[in-house]
Symmetry: C2
Subunit: 137 residues, 2 copies
DNA sequence: TCTACGGTCTGTAGTTGATACAGGCTCAAG
DNA sequence: CTTGAGCCTGTATCAACTACAGACCGTAGA
């Protein structure tokens, strides 16, 4: 157990430390969300705490529904700390509006769907309120 | 203007009648959502009112957020009217629960996001509440 | 009749965000 | 020395479309 083992992480260690899927890490590297990590003599990827922090940032952003494109933007703003809070705010607000629009859409769907399902008799009969609703012009 | 023109529709006509994208119609045929239509002597697709009705059904279902897989199921129930209202109700209720779960997720995201954005100063400074929230463990 | 334009045909590639697998290599513990 | 876990690459798959490329057709106007 040498002192390298404190920070030198394998792919599976990074996955476990972040909760990210193993294959997804490689995917993030190919699409530039994560940097290409240094390699061992045998070509194995070698990660450290900075990778863990970055990937956690990505996971949290994804959790909040940011697209990879948006996350790329946020990472750029983090990497270049000369950028402004106002810029980040703009990205986050745009995303907030997206989320609110999605909620509105789903709420409309939920209303129509629950109203329609409520009209179902649940009978072993071929007449059905859901089908009728979908069939009507 | 012969009597065929009343019902014989080209691909673009079906698209316009339903609001469906031109290419999507062909896609729905390849995946079996729509039937392979009859062809003219020169191989052009020829649609009629039944196609319009079916595609409208598909569009409305999709509008309500049903997946193509679910729509395939609903179409099967419509095609075979010996199926029961109870079966349709089951599909629709399962989908309703999906929708409600998505709304719950997005509402959580919306809350976190709006709280965080509200803490932004909007300054031309590198300190930012959004970034801090994403960076913190 | 010519020409332009809009439509149609097929097959295939690209999109987003991963996930999975094949086939082979390496490493560490027992 | 074997076994099992992990690593490597490249490629295929998923949903649900969308968008070409390259060739053909059909009709309205000059």
């Amino acid at each position: 157990m040498d002192n390298r083992s404190v920070t030198a992480l394998r792919r599976v260690d990074l996955a476990r430390a972040t909760g990210c899927n193993l294959e997804t890490i490689r995917y993030y590297e190919t699409v530039g969300i994560m940097p290409d990590p240094p390699r061992t003599a045998k070509g194995y990827r070698s990660y450290d705490d900075a990778h863990v922090r970055r990937l956690k940032f990505v996971m949290r952003s994804r959790d909040l529904g940011f697209s990879l494109e948006e996350i790329r933007g946020l990472l750029g703003l983090v990497d270049d700390r000369s950028q402004t809070c106002a810029q980040v705010q703009t990205v986050a607000e745009a995303h907030l509006h997206d989320v609110q629009a999605k909620i509105a859409d789903l709420t409309r769907i939920e209303r129509v769907l629950s109203e329609t399902v409520a009209r179902c008799t649940g009978d072993a009969a071929p007449e059905c309120a859901v089908i009728d609703a979908l069939l009507e012009a």
